[in-house]
């Protein structure tokens, strides 16, 4: 079955950059972009056990008459055929469409509810967090300026979500032919513990074959160590893998990464079903 990426298009310069990132991602790993041009300022996403209302900022409704043509131009400029456009079929209320959630990826800017002028690095909107928490698909958080990536970097901390992220990283590396690097910050676990997790999950062989370098930080602050992550890498990481209370107390790795790295991020939530 063809894999598809959902992209909510905004017809602005920032929206153009985000769609360029999406299209590049699709081209690199062979995914079909599916574009939604919103007609209303809000929509619903019904997940398996949650319903998220996404309230868009008003810039998503900019110049609807040129939006479709612009989106086609951007996708074609990356050498892909004309994209499919998604028209919502179901409406919870007359101005509240339901967007399907049976996609393989979804692309979001760091926030989709706040005006682009308010969005900075380190700010991840509540709607985007909700999507990451509930979706079965990974979410591509695109940077604000288009930048092709030439390698894949996985943040591996040993949690169940990190294993899922690693599996996804291996798949993307295989599909794109780009090198894969792993980054681990040692905490209470040793390097051997991580190796054991890899053995238990039967990933050792794949890692031996595909991983270019496994960087283990055994000292220093995690945020400082992130400087070693290549600037032109697609960074893949798991999110919300430690439970709400623990993350409230000690902070989330995902939050640290997204507030430090300007790279494109591919975030794997707790509901994502990893496939090799």
């Amino acid at each position: 079955m063809e894999t598809r990426l959902l992209h909510i298009f905004r017809n602005t310069p920032l929206g153009r950059e985000v769609l360029l990132q999406s299209t590049y991602f699709c081209k690199t790993i062979g995914v079909q972009p599916m574009i939604y041009i919103p007609e209303f300022i809000k929509f619903l996403m019904y997940f398996e056990n949650d319903v998220a209302q996404i309230d868009l900022d008003s810039s998503y409704l900019t110049a609807p008459e040129t939006a479709r043509a612009h989106a086609i131009d951007i996708v074609r400029s990356q050498g892909l055929p004309e994209p499919e456009f998604m028209e919502p079929k179901n409406f919870t209320a007359s101005t509240l469409p339901d967007i399907p959630v049976n996609f393989d990826f979804m692309c979001c800017p760091r926030s989709i509810s706040d005006l682009s002028s308010k969005i900075g690095l380190g700010y991840l909107g509540p709607r985007v967090r909700r999507i990451v928490q509930s979706a079965r698909f990974p979410v591509l958080i695109a940077g604000s300026v288009f930048k092709p990536w030439t390698s894949v970097a996985v943040m591996f901390g040993g949690s169940a979500n990190a294993v899922k992220a690693l599996k996804l990283g291996l798949r993307i590396s295989r599909k794109s032919g780009l090198p894969l690097d792993i980054f681990t910050q040692l905490g209470k676990h040793t390097h051997d513990d991580y190796q054991k997790i890899i053995q238990q999950k039967h990933l050792a062989k794949d890692i031996d074959q595909q991983v270019r370098k496994w960087t283990v930080f055994d000292s220093g602050e995690f945020a400082e160590n992130l400087y070693d992550v290549p600037h032109d890498a697609l960074v893949i990481l798991g999110a919300y893998g430690h439970g709400i209370i623990k993350e409230m107390l000690f902070g989330s790795v995902m939050e640290k990464v997204q507030s430090t790295l300007p790279n494109n991020l591919l975030i794997v939530g707790p509901k994502y079903q990893a496939a090799m």
């Binding site: 079955m1 063809e2 598809r4 079909q32 300022i41 809000k42 619903l44 019904y46 056990n49 949650d50 319903v51 209302q53 309230d55 055929p81 499919e84 998604m86 079929k89 179901n90 409406f91 919870t92 209320a93 007359s94 101005t95 509240l96 339901d98 399907p100 049976n102 439970g243 709400i244």
Partner: protein, 577 residues
């Protein structure tokens, strides 16, 4: 959260018997919690309405008081649109939609948004009722508690029902009406799995209400001596209530359509509608607000105005309700139905009293009660709800015989003219109203993606017929999709029946290419198409299978045989308890 998930998974042995052995116990326990919370929500709205009404009562006699409903409706609309970011309306169709399509998934904000907005609309004098907002609130509470416990779709729907029942039971102090309304209107499925927790929730909702504001019935309990002639006269009343129900339904829809075509911000439209209501209320104060006080005086027989005035009130209340709800105010139609129904009953009583002055009719209050039942049954097309609600809110069974007669006839007549009830009309028109165990519901839970058969051999357009014959011998299929070798684009289909004449002529094997004999006018299916639509297209074209194409690429075939297999499996899943 993890604790509850572990609890559910039966990791604590002592709890295993209680929660894991039979999930009905789990549902009953959580249902009681949901019923109590819904009861509290209903009570909060009730108190809010009383407070606002008392606050504004000092200004009602002033000449500018007609703008009060306008201000209330505008604030209510602004609150929903700008703060809550929800649409206007009473919300019951949203509950039905979520139960039909998404196993009762509802947003958390819906558990309180309608309470506040309807309080503003009704408290300021808008002609609407608090019941539908409370239903939405209760349903959302049930849904969110179910989400918290990570329950499955079926259990979640039952808890949505628990929320609804608890709310209705609390707002009317009528537990049986809460149960019956939920099963008849919201869930649509009379099974023990649903009925037991919903009944418990209903009890808890009503009990919370009784604890906090006393065990009061809405209207005074009166004894009526009903003769056969009164029962006979009820047939005419049923016809009258059916006519008024249809009028109200159409007035609401017309008003909504008219307002929709006016290009003004929604809060301005709500304010305009509210001012019209305020204007009507200036001359006929009985049309303002929920109107329970007016109903009370009619039931007690102290409403002294004449036939013509009551007839005018029927139309004034219909217009006021249409302007309140159709133009963007927030609230439900339950209370307006009760008011209009009692006006209709009173009007009918006075009419037959003039027509047959020699007959001793039962007290006019009885006809007011029967009129309420007739209107509720007609508008909601839910006769049991109409009957039990009236029995419970008046505290007596004396009127049960004519009540059944009026409810049954009114529902039947309304159904002839309006096949779908007020709550369901829009959903039915869009094909979103899917009751459990129906064909549409089973098909809605299946997707094209689940049914795609991928064991087809795709052939290139420039393949020679001879090569194709060799491939054909290895396949058990009659269909062969053809695609462009370079672009992967789907070009057409080869069906063995269509090319049989070429297959037996070896001379053509080296001279004919597939491109020349393929069928290019093929009906295709998309991955996101609804199965009911796909099935209709198959029937219309007399096809047994169709190619599934996405982004101009062949994905697989979909056939009626596979559909039947999956349909059966899905039916077993949906009907298994």
């Amino acid at each position: 959260m993890k604790f509850f998930q572990a609890l559910k998974a039966g990791r604590f042995p002592s709890w295993r018997l209680f929660f894991h052995f039979d999930d009905r116990l789990l549902l009953i326990s959580i249902g009681a919690l949901v019923g109590s919370c819904s009861g509290l929500a209903a009570l909060a709205l009730n108190r809010g309405l009383i407070t606002l009404f008392e606050l504004l009562s000092h200004y009602r006699h002033l000449w500018w008081a007609f703008v009060l409903p306008g201000i209330g409706a505008a604030l209510s609309s602004l609150f929903l649109e700008k703060i809550m970011k929800e649409g206007a309306g009473h919300g019951v169709p949203e509950v039905l939609y979520s139960v039909s399509r998404y196993g009762g998934l509802m947003r958390f904000r819906s558990s309180f948004s309608r309470l506040i907005s309807s309080c503003l609309t009704i408290g300021s004098g808008g002609s609407a009722g608090p019941e539908a907002p409370v239903v939405m609130s209760g349903a959302a509470i049930g849904s969110n508690i179910a989400q918290f416990f990570s329950l499955n779709d079926r259990q979640r729907v039952a808890l949505v029902g628990c929320g609804t029942a608890g709310a209705v039971a609390a707002i009317f102090n009528a537990p049986i009406a809460g149960l019956v309304f939920t099963i008849e209107v919201i869930i649509g499925e009379w099974t023990a799995l649903n009925i037991v927790p919903i009944a418990v929730a209903s009890v808890f909702g009503a009990q919370v209400c009784r604890l906090l504001q006393g065990n009061q019935i809405a209207f005074t309990h009166l004894k009526f001596n009903i003769d056969p002639v009164d029962t006979l006269a009820c047939i005419g009343l049923a016809v009258a209530t059916a006519v008024v129900s249809i009028l109200l339904t159409r007035a609401l829809r017309l008003s909504h359509q008219r307002a929709h075509h006016i290009k003004l911000p929604i809060w301005v439209k709500a304010a305009m509608g509210g001012c019209v209501v305020g204007g009507i209320g200036f001359f006929f104060p009985d049309v303002l607000g929920e109107g329970y006080h007016t109903i009370g005086s009619m039931v007690e027989g102290t409403f002294s105005n004449g036939l013509l005035f009551v007839a005018v009130l029927v139309f004034a209340k219909i217009i006021a309700t249409a302007f309140t709800l159709g133009w963007g105010g927030s609230g439900g139609i339950f209370a307006p139905c009760l008011v209009i129904g009692s006006f209709t009953g009173l009007m009918y009583h006075r009419f037959i009293d003039i027509l047959w002055p020699g007959v001793t009719w039962v007290n006019e209050g009885c006809f007011a009660l029967l009129g309420m039942a007739g209107l509720i049954s007609g508008i909601l097309q839910a006769p049991l709800t109409g009957m039990f609600l009236i029995v419970e809110i008046t505290g007596g069974y004396e009127v049960i015989l004519p009540l059944i007669l009026v409810s049954a006839i009114s529902t039947t007549l309304c159904h002839s003219f309006e096949p779908a009830s007020f709550y369901m009309k829009e959903l039915v028109e869009k094909g979103h109203f899917l009751r459990p165990r129906t064909d549409a519901r089973v098909l809605a839970d299946l997707s094209v993606e689940e049914l795609v058969e991928k064991d087809c051999i795709v052939v290139p357009k420039d393949m020679k017929l001879g090569d194709f014959v060799k491939i054909m011998q290895k396949s058990h299929r009659n269909f062969f999709p053809v695609e462009d070798e370079h672009t992967g684009e789907f070009l057409g289909l080869i069906h063995l029946d269509d090319i049989r004449e070429y297959l037996f002529d070896p001379f053509l094997y080296e001279t004919v290419f597939l491109e020349q004999i393929m069928d290019t006018q093929v009906e295709t299916v998309g991955l996101d198409d609804d199965l009911s639509v796909v099935l209709d297209r198959m029937d219309a074209a007399n096809l047994f299978s169709m190619p599934v194409v996405a982004s101009n690429r062949f994905v697989g075939m979909i056939s009626k045989a596979t559909l039947l297999d999956k349909y059966r499996n899905e039916l077993i899943v949906q009907t298994h308890h």
